[in-house]
Amino acid sequence: MNKYLLYPGCSMESSAKAYMESLNAIVEPLDLHFDEIEDWNCCGATEYLGINLIPAYSLIARNLALASKQKNGTRTVVAPCSACYLNLAKADHYMQERPSLGVKVNEALAAGDLQYKAGTLDVRHLIDILVYDVGLEKIRDAVVRPLTGLKVVPYMGCMLPRPDYQHRWSDHEHPTELDDLLRALGADVIDYPLTTSCCGGHMTQIGPETAFELIRRLVSDADGRGAQMMVTVCPMCQMNIDAYQNETNHFFGTEYHMPILFFTQLMGLAFGRDPKELGIGVELVSSRNALANIGVEVPVTQEPAAPRKKDEGLPMPRRWNKREAQKEAVK
Amino acid sequence: MTDQFEPTIIGFTCNWCSYRASDLAGTARMKYAPNVKLIRLMCSGRLDPTFVLRALSSGADGVMITGCHPGECHYIEQNYKALRRFLLLRRVLNGLGIEPERVKLVWASAAEGARFAAETTAFVEEIRKLGPLNWGKADDGPQATDHDQPSFAHGKEMEVPA
C-alpha cells in the first residue's frame, strides 16, 4: 500500500468538494492511503505572500512542521491543489536556498513549539503520485468503463508545472502527464497548446475584466479544437472556468458551453463509479451533454433556487470581531 | 592597536587559479586582512591532510584551502579530490574537538582576485570569532593533574570504611 500525508487545502472542503469526493472514490482501486495532516491551515494562496514575507512563509511552514511530526511511515506530502502544492514546495525550497529565511521561519514556528528542517519532506502533487508512483499501467488496469469517444482537452494550469523546484514534470510548457493519464482512461485527448496558460487566478476577484479575457482564451481555444470538456487538476482553475464562464460569455457576448471536471472525476467514471459519488453534477457549466457521449447520465442536482424576495444580495457572515472570537474560543 | 585577537592562518593555494587570484588581488591593490600566510602548491589535490594538522598543531588558528572551481582544474579534476579529503578531514577534526569551520575550502579562479580578498577577510573574521585554537601551547606536554587542587574527578571526599 502506498501511504502519503495529505494536505487537502481549503477549497477541497468547499468549492472543490467534487475533487475531494472523487479522490476518495479512486483511493481504493489504486491501493492508496492518505492521512490528512492534522489541523492543517490555509497555505495563504497567492495573497499572503504579497503582504508579509516571514508570516507568509511561517503560515505555510506550520503545515510542513505538522507533517514532519506526523509519523505514518512516509515523508511525502501530497497536495491536490496546485496553488497549495506550489506554496508548500516553494517554502521548502526557499528555506534552503536562503538559509536566513529558514532560520527566521523556524524562530516563528518555535513560538508554537514547532520546527521544520527544510528538505526533509517531499512535497508532491496528486497527479505526480498517480502518474509516477501508481503508474499508468495500474491505472489502465483499473479502468472498467473506458472513456472512448469523450473529447477532452487536458488543462494543467500554471502553478503545477512551474517553477518546478524539484524537477518533477516532463516540461514547463507542455507537460504530458495529464494527457497520458487521460489517454490511459481511454479518452480522446486533444493537443491543447494552452494547457499551462493561466486561468486568471485571483484576477476574477480583483480585476474581473482581465480574468474574463484569460478565461475566454482558454475556453475559446478548447472549443475551437472540438473539445467536449476541459479536464483540470486544480481547484482554482476549475472554479474560474466553471463559475465565471457565464460572466465571461456575458462580457464578450459569446455562448461557450465548456464544462470542466477534475481529472479524478473522470478516473472515477472510468473505474466504474457512480457519477453521484464523484461529485458530478455540481459544476455550474453542466457536463451532462458531454458525458452523454459516453453514456453517462449526470444526476440532477438542485437547480438554483429562486432569488430571495428582498434584494439584499448574498447573506453575509458577520464581520470578524476579535472579542467575539475569544468568547467563542472559551466555549 | 586594539587588543582584539589576531588569528594566525595558513593558506594553501594552487599554482594556477587561486595563487593567481591572490596575485590579481595584489596587482589590483585590493586590501584584505593580513592574517593569512600563503603556501603555493601545484594543485589543491596536492593538499595532504597532514599539512593542515601540522599547521594547526604548530600554532595556526585556522587553515584556508583554495583551488580552482570544480570543473576548471588545471589538472582536470584533482580539485574534486581535494574536496573529498577536505570533507572527511573536517569530520575528523570535529571529532577532535576542533570547530570544523577552522578549515575552509574556497574556490577562486585566476580572475577572482576580489573573491580571494573577500573570502580571506571573511575567513579571518570567522576565525576571530572562534578565538585562538591554542594547540601550539598544548604541545608543551601535559602536566599531571595537581594533587593539591583536585579536578572534578578527585574532588569528592573518599569515604573510608569504618
Binding site: S14, L59, R98, R162, L284, T301 | -
Partner: protein, 198 residues
C-alpha cells in the same frame, strides 16, 4: 537626502535617483532574487498573459527599479496584476525570480501606501484577515465581502453563480476554524515581529 538644487529643478529632475532601491527589493525577496542579473531581454513582458493591462511590463519595472524610480514602481499596477503563472520565471534566461519580486513589490507598496487602486491590496488583506482569524480561507465571505466593496454593480450579475455554488454545496455559509488557532496566532505574531526587525 541631498537638497534639490535649483538647477536640478529647472532641468526637470523632480526626484532623487534612489540607487539602493534595487538592492532593497532584492533583499526583501524570498530566496535569491537575481534581480541585478536582468538583461532587459523582455522574455517576461512577452510571456505575461496580462501584460496588455499592465502600466509597465515587468521588464520595464525592473529597469525602473535600477533607475531608482521608487514611487513610480510602487504605484504601478504591474505587481497587482501578476497572476503568478510563472511563465516568465521559467523562461527568464537569467533566472530572475520574477514572481517573487512581484510579491515583494506588493508588500512594499502596501507599506508605503502607494497603489493606484485598492482593490487588489484590499482583497489580499481581507484574505489574510480571514486566514488569521480562522486558519482557513473562507471563499464565501471573501468573495461576497470583496465584491460588495469593489464591484457592487457587478454583484447582481454574479448572483446566479453564487447561488449555484451554494445550492450545489460548493460554498460553505459558515467559516471553518482550525483546532489550534492559538498556536497559529503565536507563530504569526512572532513572524510579524521578525518581519519588523529584519
Amino acid at each position: 537626502m541631498p537638497q534639490m538644487t535649483d538647477e536640478r529643478v529647472r532641468a526637470g529632475l523632480t526626484h532623487e535617483e534612489d540607487l539602493s532601491l534595487l538592492h532593497e527589493v532584492s533583499m526583501k525577496t524570498a530566496g535569491v532574487s537575481r534581480l541585478e542579473m536582468c538583461i532587459q531581454c523582455g522574455t517576461c513582458g512577452g510571456s505575461c498573459p496580462v501584460a496588455k493591462d499592465m502600466d509597465h511590463t515587468p521588464r520595464m519595472l525592473f529597469a525602473m527599479l535600477r533607475a531608482g524610480m521608487r514611487e513610480e514602481v510602487l504605484r504601478s499596477n504591474t505587481q497587482w496584476l501578476c497572476v503568478s503563472c510563472y511563465h516568465c520565471v521559467v523562461r527568464c534566461p537569467q533566472e530572475v525570480h520574477i514572481a517573487d519580486v512581484m510579491y515583494t513589490l506588493k508588500g512594499m507598496a502596501i507599506k508605503a501606501k502607494l497603489y493606484a487602486n485598492s482593490t487588489a491590496p484590499d482583497f489580499s488583506q481581507t484574505f489574510v484577515d480571514m486566514v488569521e482569524s480562522y486558519g482557513r480561507s473562507f471563499e464565501m465571505g471573501l468573495a461576497s465581502r470583496h465584491y460588495l466593496k469593489h464591484f457592487p454593480l457587478r454583484l447582481p450579475g454574479m448572483m446566479p453563480m453564487g447561488l449555484g455554488m451554494i445550492t450545489k454545496g460548493r460554498m460553505a455559509l459558515t467559516p471553518k476554524r482550525i483546532k489550534h488557532m492559538d498556536q497559529l496566532t503565536k507563530i504569526l505574531n512572532r513572524a510579524k515581529q521578525l518581519e519588523m526587525t529584519s
